[in-house]
């Protein structure tokens, strides 16, 4: 099987608009979770969210994206896509080859436009400019048309593991010979829809989230986008390689639509089989970028699964303490953060964990440290029992 390398990446999150801005903020232990300002909602001014403080018109202007009907989700995706493609040095011509594939993971899609969608779905006449924008596929279709992509284009939605699965699919398309380069990742933005959904489930914290703390009270939502460019070894000989994607696995917890099984069978299997796919032993993993949503259920179950798999769990952290839970984008953004860990041989502090979960005795990394790092695992778990783990390795 061919080795798969990451040859480019781009990200936008509450920590910054570029890979370097995100890294500087992670190093400084900065928290991008602040009271939400930009959505017309009763939660505005109050609910802590990982919000990108650029209004949708500001984003559109900065991207020279003037066409009507563009959603915030599409704009965030365009921003990260542009960066990823530039960082991999892909020309417009290369983008348009049938051998260039694109896979987007998203859970909100165009549903960020809650009020417009409601109006159009109720309307008898006079549809808005957003009629074609509500679909999950609308973002990938926008980028397909903008960049004249003629290879395979896909959108996946496995809830909060969507973009981790987009990365896996891209790697498999390369290995099957169906593509020479894959642009993979995901995007989601803050929306009335998800804010109210998670609030109704009573898993939103009214304070800044505390992943892996005994006193954690729930998650904060965030927004952002990240894309990686993946290429096979033989197609990237002369290119700078940021990391190698050495392992991945997707499984289902097969337990409950919106919570993980007590024993963490899904997370356990995802991590175990990702290791097997990379031909690695548990002891080879130097660090885990945990799913770590800061909900009661997730952090307890993920810890238990780590304790089951590892004799002594490696160092771990949740970057959701910096940017909130970006849902469909989380797997891709956390992949970028994991690659930064490897590139710079450094670990960033997990924020707001004062006392680890008593029953597990586990504490995340709480200080910035430099240390040799060879293999890093990144976990993403979603509603519907979807569990995926990726392993990135130093080049």
């Amino acid at each position: 099987m061919s080795r798969i390398f990451v040859t480019g990446m781009g990200v936008i999150s509450a920590l910054g608009n570029s890979v370097s801005e995100n890294r500087e903020a992670l190093k400084a232990g900065k928290c991008g979770i602040t009271p939400m300002e930009l959505i017309d909602s009763r939660f505005a001014g109050k609910l802590p969210c990982g919000e990108i403080k650029l209004s949708t018109p500001e984003l559109a202007r900065s991207l020279n994206a003037a066409q009507p009907g563009l959603t915030r989700t599409a704009l965030l995706a365009l921003h990260a896509f542009n960066q990823a493609v530039a960082s991999a040095g892909l020309s417009p011509e290369t983008l348009s080859y049938p051998s260039t594939v694109f896979i987007n993971g998203t859970t909100v899609g165009g549903m960020c436009l809650t009020d417009e969608l409601y109006h159009d779905a109720e309307a008898k006449e006079n549809g808005s400019e957003y009629l074609a924008a509500y679909d999950y596929a609308s973002i990938a279709l926008y980028l397909q048309q903008k960049f004249s992509l003629s290879g395979l284009v896909n959108t996946v939605n496995t809830a909060c593991s969507s973009s981790a699965n987009a990365i896996m699919l891209g790697a498999r398309l390369l290995q099957s010979g169906r593509a020479k380069r894959a642009i993979v990742g995901g995007v989601d933005c803050l929306a009335k829809f998800t804010i109210n959904g998670f609030n109704a489930l009573h898993i939103l914290s009214s304070d800044i989230c505390q992943p892996f703390d005994e006193a954690r009270k729930g998650l904060n939502l965030g927004e952002g986008a990240a894309f990686l460019v993946l290429e096979k070894e033989e197609d990237s000989i002369d290119k700078e390689k940021l990391a190698e994607l050495t392992g991945f696995f997707n499984t289902n917890d097969a337990y409950h639509p919106s919570s993980l099984s007590e024993n963490g069978e899904g997370p356990f299997l995802a991590m175990q089989e990702a290791l097997a796919s990379a031909n690695l032993r548990p002891a080879d993993i130097d660090f885990i970028n945990a799913h770590g949503t800061a909900t009661e259920n997730n952090d307890a179950v993920e810890s238990k699964a780590m304790l089951r798999l590892f004799d002594s769990p490696p160092k771990f952290a949740s970057t959701k303490s910096n940017i909130g839970h970006t849902l469909g984008a989380a797997g891709a953004i956390e992949a970028v953060f994991s690659i930064l860990n490897l590139q710079h041989q450094e670990l960033y502090p997990s924020l707001n964990c004062e006392n680890g979960i008593e029953s597990t005795g586990l504490m995340p990394v709480v200080e910035y440290t430099q240390q040799p790092l060879r293999h890093i695992m990144s976990n993403s778990f979603g509603f519907g029992g979807n569990c995926s783990s990726l392993i990135f390795s130093k080049v």
Binding site: A137, Q145, V153, N165, L173, G197, G385
Partner: protein
């Protein structure tokens, strides 16, 4: 190569559990609603909690799961499943001004509900994926399945699609000009107007790498995004020369949907094929929806297995007695195209 061992679909026709395609069931109020069975295999309490798309998907999958044996995973495709719950949750948000809402609709609005439910029902910890790329959600799922059976020889998967007509997607597509009002299948292809008839349905396949015992095999599947009919024909020509180099398809199963705007794409593909190639159509039976082409594949399997098709599907009578290779061409909204090459086992 991906082999199809079992197939089932719930559609607007008599396709489940018994198949009778001779009598065409016409649209009602310009919509081709699915003929849902009684779902005897699903406990009543469970059935009540399921949304319509999940019910149709699980209903169609259940009959296959009885005999499929252990599966290595579940691959789903949908564009609209969950949208009805999504809209109900939006209604709650607006009606109660973001107050105390019940989360049921929110949880059920996730489009990965079908693969998730099947994995829970069957305690399946295998591969679990949901493709949602609108008019190519199904084809992307099919390509995913093809890669999986190549990666894991001997493996077996449930590949399934579902979409429903909800108030949400009906109104949005109607405002977008994608529907016309027709209550008779007789006018379907000849009205000379734009738009099609909305439809819904679920199609389920048990697929594996094993040829033995299969009904048909998929040699190749390819997708393309373009608004240029000439490019579609170009890519089809390359596709056929690569994957069926020394033969020609006996039959084109066409996704023609009565929309005048899209006719040039379908005619372009028909004209590429040599005289004697039959052309069959199925959208007057299913209506149009993003994963309708999965029902196209269901028809392809049925035709290859039984070597028969009803007269109302025929646009051009095939020149050969024994049908071996079927080319399925579909496009969604003139942008998302797919070619699937299906051969009898």
């Amino acid at each position: 190569m991906l082999f199809i061992h079992q197939y089932a679909c719930i559609s607007a026709q008599d396709s489940f559990p018994e198949v009778n395609l001779d009598a065409v069931i016409a649209p009602v109020d310009g919509k081709l609603f699915a003929r849902e069975p009684a779902y005897d295999g699903i406990p009543k309490g469970t059935l009540r909690r399921m949304s319509k798309p999940v019910r149709m998907a699980i209903g169609a999958a259940s009959v296959l799961l009885k005999t499929s044996g252990r599966l290595d995973g579940i691959i789903g495709a949908t564009a609209n499943a969950g949208m009805d719950d999504c809209f109900r949750f939006l209604q709650q948000i607006i009606q109660y001004e973001e107050g105390l809402l019940t989360p049921g609709n929110f949880v059920q609005s996730t489009p990965n509900a079908m693969p998730a439910q099947v994995s829970m029902m069957t305690q399946n910890h295998g591969y679990n994926m949901t493709h949602v790329h609108l008019g190519l959600a199904f084809e992307n799922a099919l390509i995913d399945a093809s890669m999986l059976v190549d990666e894991h020889p001997g493996s077996k998967y449930l590949l399934g699609t579902v979409d429903d007509i909800s108030a949400y997607n009906y109104n949005i597509n109607r405002l977008g000009g994608w529907y016309k009002a027709l209550n008779s299948h007789g006018d379907f292809y000849n009205a000379g107007t734009t738009g099609s008839i909305p439809g819904e349905g679920a199609a389920m396949f048990i697929v594996s790498s094993e040829k033995s015992g299969s009904i048909a095999g998929i040699t190749a599947a390819e997708t393309l995004h373009t608004e240029d009919a000439a490019l579609v024909v170009d890519r089809l020509q390359t596709f056929l020369s690569l994957h069926l180099p020394n033969e020609v398809p006996d039959l084109l199963l066409s996704g023609e949907n009565g929309d005048q705007q899209l006719l040039p794409f379908y005619e372009g593909c028909e004209q590429l094929l040599p005289p004697g190639t039959g052309v069959l159509r199925y959208k007057h039976l299913t209506g149009e929806f993003p994963t309708a082409n999965a029902l196209g594949l269901w028809f392809g399997c049925y035709i290859l297995q039984h070597q028969r098709f009803p007269a109302h599907m025929v646009k051009v009578e095939p020149g050969v007695e024994k049908l071996r290779h079927i080319l399925i061409y579909n496009n969604f909204k003139g942008l998302q195209h797919s070619f699937i090459l299906l051969s009898g086992s």
